[in-house]
């Protein structure tokens, strides 16, 4: 019964996305053309990838506010490595490793020193961004300072979709398998759902949280490269404030902020929902000044919707009530 109910929550979100597309298509049919939708998906790829990493972290009752800063730092390192002639595969390995390392710093502080994650990542958020400044003196790395191959990889189109979008698709599939079918993946839910009980079943809460941070960091590192290559620029402030979008995507997708509940499909749709809103507004020609208020309202409506499904369920003791329900 609950499973169908949960499914229906995701169904509501899917319907909302479809309705949104319909409304947009009404004003601007070109938006729903396959090519444009592919474009929206590509644009939303960073958000989707980061939302999955964030989902892992939120499932364990933590939050990672440093993702955007991590992304920016890894992106900058990618650009610098490219500048000194490091081949692309090595750069990819390096940014993922670096991102994971930065995530591990968060994870260690949460695990070993038991500092609440919001405090840790609030701190590392500014530190990671600061490191970019210290490394570069605040200088930008621009398109002409990047090699063609570096910029071309995420844009290369395979079967109608750019590599960037394919990477997001791959991450979604891999992540779904990880979360649903592996022991560490299930541990994420256990740790967030009932940390106390997790200890009794031999799952280390701290180690699992650490793993979630490493995962989130690695994905941020990967996204860092994609971002910098796609927008062909790297500087201190890239993706500034993006962490809030990422958290918002998770929340809209029904990932319980208290941990332990949520689905990959939800997170992905949450990200798509935000991505479509962001992409559609300029296209539909709504004044740019309305953008912020509209996304804010969309977030509020979405969480109010989600909450209706999550409301406390009675225990249903009365026999006849069981039939009515």
């Amino acid at each position: 019964m609950m499973t169908t109910f949960l499914k229906s929550r995701e169904a509501i979100l899917a319907l909302a996305i479809l309705a949104l597309l319909a409304v947009i298509a009404f004003r601007f049919p070109g938006f729903v053309a396959p090519a444009n939708l592919a474009n929206v998906l590509t644009d939303t790829s960073p958000l989707i990838i980061l939302a999955l990493g964030q989902m892992a972290v939120i499932l364990t009752k933590c939050i990672d506010l440093s993702v955007a800063a991590n992304l920016a730092l890894c992106g900058m390192i990618a650009a610098i490595l490219n500048g000194i002639g490091v081949p692309l595969p090595l750069i990819l390995i390096a940014v993922v490793a670096l991102g994971a390392g930065l995530g591990a710093v968060n994870g260690l502080l949460v695990w070993k020193l038991n500092i609440p994650s919001i405090v840790v990542t609030l701190g590392t958020m500014t530190i990671y961004r600061g490191i970019i400044f210290v490394l570069t003196d605040g200088k930008w790395i621009n398109a002409h300072q990047m090699s063609e191959g570096f910029k071309a990889f995420p844009r290369a189109v395979i079967l109608g979709l750019p590599v960037m979008a394919w990477i997001a698709v791959g991450v979604v599939l891999g992540f779904a398998l990880f979360v649903n079918r592996t022991a560490p993946g299930r541990a994420l839910f256990a740790v967030g759902g009932n940390p106390h009980a997790a200890v009794y079943t031999g799952i280390s809460v701290g180690r699992t949280q650490f793993m979630a941070f490493v995962l989130s960091g690695a994905l941020a590192g990967l996204t860092g490269y994609l971002w910098v290559a796609r927008y062909a620029v790297a500087y201190v402030d890239i993706a500034g404030g993006f962490e809030l979008d990422v958290v918002a995507a998770c929340v809209i997708g029904g990932i319980a902020i208290a941990g332990g509940a949520g689905s990959v499909a939800g997170a992905v749709m949450g990200a798509l929902f935000l991505g479509i809103v962001k992409n559609a507004l300029p296209v539909v020609g709504i004044s740019p000044f309305w953008q912020m208020a509209i996304s804010g309202s969309a977030i509020l409506i979405a969480i109010a919707f989600n909450a209706r499904g999550q409301g406390p369920k009675g225990r249903i003791i009365l026999k006849q009530a069981e039939h009515r329900a």
Binding site: D43, F133, W140, N142, A143, R155
Partner: protein, 306 residues
């Protein structure tokens, strides 16, 4: 005794201002007894600039030359600075008259407004739809230039400004806004981005959309950042004044005013070293020089400089 002149910029790390700082150092060397404090907030906020200016006041610097993130918000703080005997001028992006002795425009706003439209029109003999990609909605100079550009439109028949969007001087936002423009206006012929961040992002978006040749990106940019896009054809030409000159001139003016060699009054002519003199209008504003146009023929020459 050395004079300490603070060059306060919109945000640290922006190529344009780094170049201006170079010019300021050049002026300092020429003058001999000047120490330059190059500073600014991390992101382009008025609050951040106020904090920076407060600490400059505390250090009792001799002069502050500021490129403002907000015309009005800095006024009370800058007034306080002037009350404490500090020479305050604005340059590049201005402060309301109450908050400074004078303002140095890189070029006259009318000229810039005209130039950016002309850049687009030059490559559109038959006219066409043009959109503007600006920086933040609060950027003083962008707003003035766009206003001026709209004023001269009747001189360019066929050129039709269809939209103004804001990329907030963020690469990704500018990129997305450009994508929006390309979709909303399939007949778009040119994008004018009077901001060095926006123009690069717009050129990139046009390249990615495969619209090189059909949409020309122009506006104000830095040769070093635009070199690739000029070569690829995404941008046929763009303009900018020399930021090194601008930093140099601002420093010279600040030095002369703080020394008492010159007075910031309407109609006054203030010397700016190798850049000649600047004549102040009734608003106590002056223009440094004409904007200079860069295209495939001269880009290589400048792209290594700034």
């Amino acid at each position: 005794e050395t004079k300490r002149i603070a060059l306060v910029v919109k945000a640290l790390g922006i190529g344009f201002f780094e170049a201006a700082a170079k010019g300021a150092e050049e002026a300092a060397k020429e003058l001999g007894d000047v120490e330059i404090i190059y500073t600014g907030p991390t992101d382009t906020t008025a609050e951040g600039q106020i904090e920076v200016i407060n600490s400059l006041i505390a250090q009792k610097v001799d002069a502050i030359a500021v490129s403002a993130n907000d015309t009005d918000a800095l006024v009370p703080t800058l007034k306080k600075a002037m009350d404490r005997g500090i020479t305050v001028i604005s340059w590049d992006s201005g402060v309301a008259p109450d908050g400074r002795l004078m303002h140095l425009n890189p070029s006259s706003s009318a000229l810039i407004g005209n130039t950016i439209v002309k850049l687009a029109a030059d490559h559109l003999p038959d006219g066409g739809d043009v959109a503007i990609l600006s920086a933040t909605t609060t950027s003083t100079n962008q707003n003035v230039w766009i206003e001026e550009a709209k004023k001269v439109l009747p001189n360019y028949p066929g050129i039709n400004i269809v939209a103004t969007v804001y990329g907030d001087d963020l690469a990704d936002k500018s990129y997305r806004e450009t994508q929006g423009l390309l979709q909303t206006y399939p007949d778009l012929k040119a994008i004018i981005a009077p901001t060095s961040v926006g123009i690069v992002a717009a050129a990139q978006a046009v390249t990615d959309a495969g619209k090189i040749g059909s949409v020309n990106v122009t506006g104000l940019g830095l040769p070093s950042e635009m070199a690739g896009h000029v070569k690829s054809g995404a941008s046929k030409s763009f303009a900018i004044w020399n930021p090194i000159d601008l930093g140099y001139a601002a420093t010279m003016i600040a030095y002369n005013l703080s020394n008492g060699t010159a007075k910031a009054e309407a109609g006054a002519e203030i010397p700016m070293g190798r850049m000649g003199t600047v004549k102040l209008d009734d608003n106590k504003e002056g223009a440094m020089a004409d904007p200079f146009t860069y295209d495939a023929s001269n880009i290589d020459q400048f792209s290594s400089i700034f």
